[in-house]
Every structure is written in C-alpha cells, then in structure tokens.
C-alpha cells in the first residue's frame, strides 16, 4: 500500500494534469511594464467547485484571475510567463486564440457593466450575437434560461426591452452574470462581484454563486472573509504577488498554516 501511494504521489508530481482540475496555473508570473505583480503562482482550480481568492488590496488577485482568461494582456505593457492549463492544455501556447479562451472562461467584473446601449434582453443575447455563435439556438430560450440561472428572470421578465442600465446595481450585476452564462462557459471568473452592492443584493449573489457550481467552475475574488467562507470550497491567500497558502476553505479559516494567513483572516492587517 505504502509503495502504491508513493508511486501515485510521484505520478502527480511529474504529471501535473489532473482531470479533477479544471484549471491550473504553473509557475505563472505577470508584469505591468517592468513591475512584477505575480510571482510564480502554482494553483489548482477544481472543477465544479468555488475557489475564492483573498488577500489585501494590490496583492494581485485581479491580475491573477485576468491571467486565467487572457484579459491581462489587453492592458498595454502587460505581460505574463509560465503556464495556465485549461483541461490540461496551456492557454498561453502560441497557436491558442485568446478570443476562444474567453468564450470558455467567462468573467464578471467588480463594477456592474451592462452594455449601455442595449436592452436587458440584448445584453444577455449579446455574447451569442457578437461571437456569431447563435446559430441553431433559440435566443429567447437562452435569454430566459440564463436570466433564470442568474435568479433575475422573475424580476425582469416584463421589462426585457428596458435598457440594461435601468435596473438596480444588484440586478445589473446579476444581468452581467446572466450575460456570461448565456455563452455557457466552462469557468466563470468573478472579481469582487459584490463590492459595489448592498447586503441584500450581496446575499442574493452569494446564493447564486453557490448554485452555479453545479454547472460551472467558479473562481471568485473577494475582500470579504465571511463571503469567502460562505461561498467557497477552496481558498487561496495572496500576499504581495505571491500565493501564500491554498487549501480547503474550512482548513484555511480554521487551521491556517502560515502565520501571515492567520493574521490576515483575523483582521490584523489588510
């Protein structure tokens, strides 16, 4: 038994591809110009689970998740090195089209950002229309299903023609989630999706996030420790561009191994 275990361990070490892992970053570095903001990040994102990224402001949380769908490189002067695997394949390989990656790895931003010139309906349909992937799909159905999954349908079903910006902030954020879901991505990245919202709207989104993991893999950045413990299965603590600790959320919050992590979650700094 012992020998078998050790060969398994060895196999895992040599071959980082694990089917349970939806995404993996391997030796990931990121820069803005000459300034390195991520240093050698090795992190596994488990499929159909919620992974939370926590850490003080400026530690690189947003940069990290923007490396997972190749949004980071859109900032002028920004670059990366290392690998990010999606289903075992490096998304930074030369022949990979970042546009295709972004269709598989969706994103929800800190500030709700519905398309200002589009109705609620058009916002949800936008992804399918603008990527030319609506062929053979019933748009009405996709819009309805996406809004339902985003728990917004009941609130807006009579106002689908209204501008996407005419609803409340919390509703706009759920609209953005619906917009991302409509393309049926495999992974959904969320960058502090509740930080601009009131507690009631926040509670709704948290509930929704937990529901999402049935169909999607979720990575969520949050400033809010309680939120991380409420919604996530795994938690990664970042500090000054490095991954300090990663593990099951329960372990991180109850038995942090690193004193820095402990300090941060008990609110001693941040």
């Amino acid at each position: 038994m012992t020998s078998m275990n050790s060969t398994q361990d060895k196999a895992v070490n040599q071959q980082p591809i694990d089917l349970d892992m939806k995404m993996q970053s391997i030796g990931l570095n990121a820069w803005f110009g000459a300034k390195q903001v991520l240093k050698d990040i090795n992190l596994n994102v488990k499929a159909n689970a919620v992974t939370a990224i926590i850490g003080p402001s400026g530690c690189g949380k947003s940069t990290f998740i923007r490396c997972l769908n190749r949004m980071h490189e859109l900032v002028s002067g920004a670059k990366t090195s290392g690998q990010v695997l999606l289903d075992g394949k490096n998304i930074y390989e030369k022949q990979v089209d970042p546009v295709q990656i972004r269709r598989r790895v969706g994103m929800v931003f800190q500030k709700p950002n519905p398309f200002p010139t589009m109705s609620i309906y058009d916002n949800v349909a936008a992804g399918l229309r603008l990527t030319g992937t609506k062929k053979g799909k019933n748009l009405d159905e996709v819009v309805k299903r996406s809004l339902e999954q985003a728990t917004l349908w009941a609130e807006v079903k009579d106002d689908l023609k209204k501008p996407g910006t005419s609803i409340s902030g919390g509703q706009q954020q759920r609209l953005c989630i619906a917009r991302a879901i409509a393309l049926q991505p495999e992974v959904i990245l969320m960058d502090e999706p509740c930080s601009a919202l009131d507690p009631i709207a926040t509670a709704k989104i948290e509930k929704l996030v937990v529901g999402l993991k049935r169909d999607y893999t979720v990575v969520i950045v949050t400033h809010n420790m309680q939120q991380a413990s409420r919604v996530s299965d795994y938690t990664a603590f970042f500090y000054l561009g490095a991954l300090v600790e990663f593990g099951a959320t329960k372990d991180i919050f109850e038995y942090p191994k690193n004193p820095l992590t402990e300090k941060y979650i008990t609110g001693e700094f941040g």
Binding site: N69, V99, R102, R103, R104, M107, N113, L130, A180
Partner: protein, 238 residues
Amino acid sequence: MRGAPQISLNFLTQSTSGGGIGPAIQGTLILIGLTSLIGIPLGILSGVYLAEFGNNKYAATMRTVNDILTEFPSIVVGITVYGVIVIALIGEYSAIAGAIALSFILIPIVARTTEESLKLVPNNVREASLALGVHKWRTTLSVVLPAAKSGLVTGTLLAVARIAGETAPLIMTILGNRYFFQGLTQPMAALPLEIWRDSLQPQVSLQAQGWGAALILILIVLSLNIAVRIASIGRLKK
C-alpha cells in the same frame, strides 16, 4: 438682416442672370453632400483607428499629421488641391476638387471628434465585450461605436457646419460660375464664393444679393446646429 428683404422664391431658385442665387445654393448643398460623403467615412475610420487601435508608432505619426492638418490654414489646403487636382489631374476648376479640398479640412476634425468620443466610452464596456470572447473589431463596431453615437453625430454635424462656410479653398478649386450644376469636373457656384464676389461689386443691387446669400448660408449652418441640439437632447433623454 440686410439680407432679409432679398429673400424671395425667385432669389432662391433663379440663376444669376435671373437675379437669383439658385446655383450658389445648389452648389453649396452639393459641396456639403460630396464632402460629407468623402470626409465623414474617412474621418470616422481614422478616429476609430486612433482611439481603438492607436497604440503604435503609425498611429502616433497619424495623430501628428492629423494635428497639423487641423491647424492648416484653409487657403493652403486650397492651393495644394489646386496644384495636385485642378492642374495635374483634372485640368479644370471643378466641383470634385472643391469637395476634396473641403474633405481635407473635414477629415481631421471628424477624426479628432471621433477619437475623443470613443475615448469617453468607459473601458469597462470594452472589457465586458472582450471578456465574452467577442473579437476586437466586433467590439468596436457593435459595442463601442454605438455607445459613442451621440457624441459622434454631434461632432460630425458641427464639423460639417464649419466647412459649409469655408471660402478660401473654394476660390482655388471650384472657381464659381453663374450656372446650375454642370458636372463634377466642371466649375461650380457656392454661397461663400457668391458672398465674396458680390461684396466686391460696386453695384448696390449685387451687394444686396450678397447679403441675401449670406443670410441663406447662415440659415444652412444654423439648421445644422439645430440638428446638433436635437441630437444632444436625444442623448439627454436616454
């Protein structure tokens, strides 16, 4: 207001020999149309390039050229077009040469307003689209441009209003004549030229005609400005 007594149906529609400024009005409208046709698409295209794809040294050069063109005295534009188009290419003062000269004035202004209206579109709107896996060009076309639409319309109309009154480049290009439209490669009348010529005449009646023409030109420019107002009220409503 000295132009007001001049205005009559005859004045507006008759040719010069009939005591009207019909050819000049027609000429100015043709010039505005032609120049818009050439200048607006090119200007918007350049502005979009500068704002959305302008992170390289070609764009930097283009921006500089654009800035210089914006500051160019319009008579210099006229002389240049005279040299290149009127003398070398067509061999004749012509409507099209006038439109080209005015386009050189219009394009940099439209490019500049386009660039500025696009820059006002918040970056998170672009990111929202790109993060969905929408191509950059499609994002520009279907998300960014619509978001900048009212600014674009306003800026473009104002630019057109500005070139409508240009005189200097027309002297060197369309020359002016007494007849209704003769063809794109023929000289053509225009209101600014009419005003300029009439005001140099000793006869009181011709000077009066110049005042009338001035009033009409002001009305055309004014209506473009009113269109701008309406466009921006539409924006406020939204």
